[in-house]
């Protein structure tokens, strides 16, 4: 986790949670373990991960205090006068749009559950203590079984674990809390992307404007099912929404930074939450496409160090 920003760490933590929940889910499905084991496994994973991060942070801090490996914070360049009027105005616009989106999620009953049974599945897991023991929509036992591609997806288990640990209902978690988290993490992913597209300190106003336009697009671009904005505002708990709002922009940002190994996290996270057995998902084509363009650029320039390239 070297050299990672706070936004990177938040997104990676979310992916880590998906991974833990998926492992617990597979233990339930194929190992016939009860739901309580998955909860314990998840909580233990979070605690161990938290402790490991805490120890690392403490060692880093101790290293700084003793002067070993100390990093001096770069002083602002001369003439860099901090927050300008334009920066403040753009920031205000972004905050207003963000607050509007939070209000939309929390104050209105605009939940699109068409073609999706996640909420019912979470309630069934909480009630029966196992996954897919009963048909989530009726509560009766399956007579014909269900497709494997559904059984292996761990998103309902993640939500059920969060309901159990946080003590809130599935309805509230999935229609309010999760969409808010997805919105926040989505902005973090786009912020990481913005830093790649506008890397200079003098371009920070453009970075913020980028984020403001993303916010405007989420509001304005929710006119059709399948659009990013529609997913976040009306069905933020769905796997496809998490993919489009968080995983895909983050994958793009990682590709632009040549952090190819880390893209594997996004591929695996998508596999856990979307029907990846119908095709290989959307993150893989992004990685392959960006990789192909990178190779093409290298061939064109004739060397590994292209003029104008970063790192």
């Amino acid at each position: 986790m070297k050299g990672l920003s706070l936004a990177d760490k938040c997104i990676i933590t979310w992916i880590f949670m998906i991974g833990l929940a998926e492992t617990g889910h597979l233990l339930m499905v194929f190992g016939n373990r009860p739901f309580s084991d998955a909860v314990v496994f998840f909580a233990a994973g979070i605690c161990i991960g938290g402790c490991a991060c805490g120890i690392r942070w403490w060692k880093k801090r101790r290293g700084r205090e003793t002067g070993k490996g100390a990093r001096r914070r770069a002083k602002p360049a001369k003439g860099d006068s901090g927050i300008t009027a334009v920066y403040a105005a753009v920031f205000l616009v972004f905050v207003l749009l963000f607050l509007f989106q939070i209000m939309t999620i929390w104050s209105q009953d605009h939940t699109d559950r068409g073609g999706d049974q996640t909420i019912e599945t979470v309630e069934s897991i909480l009630e029966t203590g196992s996954v897919y023991a009963v048909d989530p929509l009726t509560g009766s036992a399956y007579t014909e079984g269900l497709p494997l591609r559904i059984r292996i997806l761990g998103l309902p288990t993640l939500y059920a674990i969060l309901c159990r640990l946080l003590g809130i209902s599935a309805w509230k978690l999935l229609t309010k809390v999760v969409p808010t988290a997805v919105l926040l993490l989505g902005y973090m992913a786009y912020w990481i992307l913005a830093k790649q597209l506008f890397p200079n300190r003098q371009e920070r106003e453009w970075r913020l404007l980028f984020l403001a336009i993303v916010a405007a697009l989420i509001c304005c671009g929710s006119y059709a099912f399948g659009m990013d904005g529609y997913g976040i505002l009306y069905c933020g708990y769905r796997g496809t929404t998490i993919r489009s709002a968080i995983l895909l922009p983050y994958t793009l940002a990682l590709c632009l930074q040549h952090r190819w190994k880390q893209t594997l996290l996004c591929l695996l996270a998508e596999a856990c939450i979307v029907w990846t057995l119908y095709g290989l998902g959307a993150c893989l084509p992004v990685v392959c496409g960006m990789g192909a363009i990178r190779l093409w650029q290298i061939r064109r320039s004739g060397s590994l160090h292209t003029v104008g390239e970063e790192g």
Binding site: Q108, T128, L137, M227
Partner: protein, 302 residues
């Protein structure tokens, strides 16, 4: 083959029917590709966006992408590989940054302000401001039993949905209060109640679930409802709509059929005449909200 190509093309036509953000994306890509040379990460993003947009628009490559999805997903999901939001945002910033007039005087301020307003207008006119899609999906009954097909007003529909959910919660509370604690409740009710039951309370089983009217949910299962169950659904919805004729005469038979399938709790519209059903003591009745709750007496024979 031609049919499948037409399907891919029709998918694009439907996709850009309501809003024009893909068209705005193309316009911005044109500006970025033929404008100032972009290198590094910016250049890679632009070229990736251009290639993927072309792949999604061209029917042949769109069809290949749909095949990559094994033909299960709709056309719109192939656009997941296109970073629409990121590219429009980047293109917008690039346009405003490159075309703005330098300086702090009034002419510069007016020009830049006017340009910004026009850009916002373009963004707003390229999209539908959101509400249309949700209301149309609900009104069309796409996955929801709620919705007055005669209104697409977002506020009215949201209110309907909120009221329906509150009614469902109220009915559930009454059912659990009146039912015996030992009995597993198996509920049969109008779709607008069943819509929320399993999402609010996982302990109640249903005669049929949302997949009875939201056929997309049948992709999650192999089972189909037997004809008898489907007939009960048709009857109940006819009763709830007020279109079912001579309901009083049919009620005992329908309740018997439901009982045979394990139902021990029935929700009916309040105006339903249940006197004949209550006469033999098999069912007890109570009223809640705009419904009558019938609960089968424990140990009552069919």
């Amino acid at each position: 083959m031609l049919d499948r190509l037409h399907l891919a093309w029709q998918g694009l036509a439907d996709w850009i029917d309501r809003g024009k953000l893909p068209a705005l994306l193309l316009a911005l890509l044109l500006y970025l590709v033929f404008g100032k040379k972009q290198r590094g990460p910016q250049g890679r993003l632009i070229w990736y966006g251009l290639v993927t947009v072309i792949l999604c628009i061209c029917p042949v490559t769109a069809l290949l992408l749909m095949q990559y999805q094994t033909g299960f997903y709709d056309y719109i999901w192939i656009w997941s590989i296109v970073p629409v939001t990121a590219l429009i945002a980047y293109g917008g910033v690039r346009f405003l940054a490159d075309e703005r007039k330098a300086g702090t005087g009034y002419p510069a301020l007016l020009r830049n302000g006017f340009m910004l307003l026009l850009a916002v207008a373009v963004l707003v006119l390229s999209s539908g401001l959101g509400a249309g899609a949700w209301t149309e999906r609900v009104s069309a009954g796409s996955g929801s039993a709620i919705g007055d097909v005669h209104t697409t007003d977002a506020t009215a529909l949201a209110l309907q949905e909120a009221l329906a959910r509150d009614r469902a919660q109220e009915v559930l509370a009454a059912v659990k209060a009146n039912a015996s604690t030992n009995d597993q409740i198996c509920l049969w009710a109008p779709a607008e109640i069943l819509e929320y039951v399993r999402a609010l309370d996982g302990s109640i089983t249903l005669l049929y679930g949302r997949n009875m009217w939201d056929i997309a949910l049948n992709a999650y299962r192999y089972e189909v409802y037997p004809a008898e169950t489907q007939q009960l659904y048709q009857w109940m919805e006819g009763l709830a709509d007020g279109t079912e004729q001579a309901v009083g005469e049919q009620l005992p038979e329908q309740l018997d059929a439901a009982s045979r399938l394990g139902v021990n709790c029935v929700i009916l519209p309040r105006e339903t005449d249940v006197q004949e059903v209550l006469a033999d003591g098999t069912w007890t009745a109570s009223e809640v909200s705009t419904y009558i709750v019938l609960i089968k007496m424990t140990g009552a024979s069919e």
